[in-house]
């Protein structure tokens, strides 16, 4: 059974600098922004001033579809982080555009017991404006199609 995600009361949000800013703020326009090398044309993540494959510095962020698949996942059941009550699903998503580009995130709106490697997922953004901090839009993921049918779809996939 899918579980409906409730936004937590607090998250430790990043204070993005330099190349990271576009990734953490792209959600303002509902876009998942991923760095791409204009020399070898490969995407890469996290953003950096140079392509880790060909060392080219001709790199910039581009919007991607925000869709992908579960490369791997884990369900955390320990209260490590005081403001994120367990259980929650930590997921490594491989991008539809280029599966060897992967993004860590949380997978929500899903029963942890029903997640499978290979499940289709899509991004959405959670807006945070911490006092004294930087405004960010955290990219989270949920199953495709979202909500109650997710468990069934991903079940077939496993």
């Amino acid at each position: 059974m899918a579980q409906t995600y409730t936004r937590p009361d607090f998250r430790l949000t990043p204070t993005p600098e330099g190349d990271d800013v576009v990734f953490w703020t792209g959600g303002e326009d509902d876009r998942l922004m991923i760095h791409r090398c204009r020399s070898c044309e490969q995407y890469f993540h996290p953003p950096a001033p140079a392509c880790f494959r060909c060392r080219s510095r001709d790199v910039a962020s581009e919007p991607v579809s925000g869709r992908g698949r579960v490369a791997t996942f884990t369900v955390n059941r320990q209260p490590w982080l005081p403001t994120l009550p367990p259980p929650y699903v930590i997921v490594l998503v491989e991008l539809e555009e280029q599966p060897d580009v992967r993004i860590f995130s949380q997978l929500v709106d899903v029963d942890p017991a029903e997640v499978r490697i290979g499940d289709e997922v899509e991004v959405f953004f959670e807006h945070w404006a911490p006092e004294g901090g930087t405004e960010v839009w955290l990219p989270l993921f949920r199953p495709v199609p979202p909500s109650v049918d997710a468990a069934t779809v991903s079940g077939e996939d496993a």
């Binding site: 955390n76 930590i90 490594l92």
Partner: protein
């Protein structure tokens, strides 16, 4: 290069030493090491030291070693290489002795996971390091890094949580006779599977405990080895391998390339292959990591680890026992000390003095992986000089 012999080895008990700091643990390990030197060690013989310490909660590490051991007239280098720190300290000391510049080198590894680090302090600390900015906002805690690899490994290899449990059960059983081990009790596969989940697929018994401790070994040149013992252990191979730090850049989630690289270098230096290894200490911070490492070290084929552990080959009674000390899982894991303590265990095995003593092993291998999966160090020891 000159041949390098290990002629002494000792360690503290691994446990939560609430009452002892690094400054107490380090000299305890050095004293134990000195006591193990067959013909005795005059401490003024020590010409240089390498200190593997991951965290620095107690101040300037090289100075702490010199101060606490009264070794103020020799150089001390701190080496840090995530959880591969201990075996990298051995590697650097080995180079110095092999060079002909140093005849007698001390290697110490130690860490103290301070109980005083409250959650709020941890958060402040976490906020200081940049890369975690990519992890904590979305709940990615350290054990989850390995859990993501393990989940994918189970998915691709066909291994199950039962195979992971067999590793934990085996290592707990091995630790029963080890007076230095932190967890000296037997567990069953059922207990492992029924234990509370930490981060899937890891239950409580799939994870190493939090430990404090120190370990020390003494490396000397072939020219002076017989001043210290008639039964030296030879440092035959050392290797260190790296991979991209970012998980997002790793190609294959079911193998750790640093281990493959470190092992390749160490086997090449030793002039042997994985089939020659009689006994090994393998990094099992989580049970699945031991399985993956069997494959990366060449102890079995790709995705052959489940069958290997099922066969019992890596138990004390098997053909190639792994983690006779109890491993990180049951002996404990103070990061800087762990690699050095693996050498302590193997030194004793190769000299016939170990608790789970094998029948005349010739080649032994120690292995770490850390960072969390960005660096590996491998050391190969042998009773054979060449």
């Amino acid at each position: 290069m000159r041949r390098v012999a290990m002629v002494g080895a000792g360690m503290t008990k691994f446990k939560e030493h609430f009452d002892l700091g690094i400054k107490e643990l380090v000299p305890m390990a050095v004293s134990e090491m000195a006591a193990s030197v067959d013909k005795g060690l005059d401490r003024s013989d020590i010409e240089a030291a390498w200190f593997g310490e991951l965290t620095t909660s107690d101040g300037f590490p090289a100075g702490i070693l010199a101060d606490s051991c009264g070794l103020l007239d020799i150089p001390v280098t701190r080496v840090e290489n995530a959880c591969a720190t201990g075996n990298d300290a051995v590697r650097n000391a080995m180079y110095a002795v092999a060079s002909g510049i140093v005849d007698v080198a001390l290697v110490v590894g130690a860490d103290k996971v301070r109980e005083s680090s409250s959650r709020s302090t941890f958060w402040e600390w976490a906020a200081l390091t940049r890369d975690v900015a990519w992890d904590y906002p979305l709940g990615l805690v350290a054990p989850a890094n390995f859990a993501l690899h393990a989940a994918r490994y189970l998915h691709e290899s066909g291994a199950t949580r039962e195979h992971m449990a067999m590793v934990a059960v085996k290592n707990h059983r091995h630790a029963l006779t080890n007076p230095k081990a932190q967890l000296r009790f037997e567990i069953t596969v059922e207990q492992v599977l029924r234990a509370p989940t930490v981060v899937e697929p890891f239950g409580l018994y799939d994870c190493t405990p939090q430990s404090d401790g120190a370990a020390a070994v003494l490396l000397v040149s072939e020219e002076v080895a017989d001043r210290y013992t008639d039964r030296p252990v030879w440092v035959r191979g050392v290797g260190l391998g790296l991979d991209r730090v970012m998980h997002q850049h790793k190609q294959d989630m079911t193998s750790f390339p640093p281990t493959v690289k470190a092992a390749r270098a160490a086997y090449a230096m030793a002039g042997i292959g994985p089939a020659d290894i009689d006994v090994a200490e393998v990094h099992d911070c989580f049970s699945a990591v031991e399985l993956i490492s069997y494959e990366d070290l060449g102890f079995c084929d790709r995705f052959g680890a489940a069958a290997l552990v099922e066969s019992g080959a890596t138990t004390f009674e098997g053909s190639r026992p792994v983690n006779l000390s109890g491993g990180l899982k049951a002996k404990g894991h103070p990061p800087g000390a762990t690699g050095v303590s693996q050498n302590v265990e193997l030194f004793e095995q190769l000299r016939g003095d170990a608790h789970n003593q094998l029948d005349t092993p010739t080649y032994a291998l120690a292995h770490n992986i850390g960072g969390p999966t960005a660096v590996s160090a491998v050391t190969i020891l042998s009773t054979e000089k060449d």
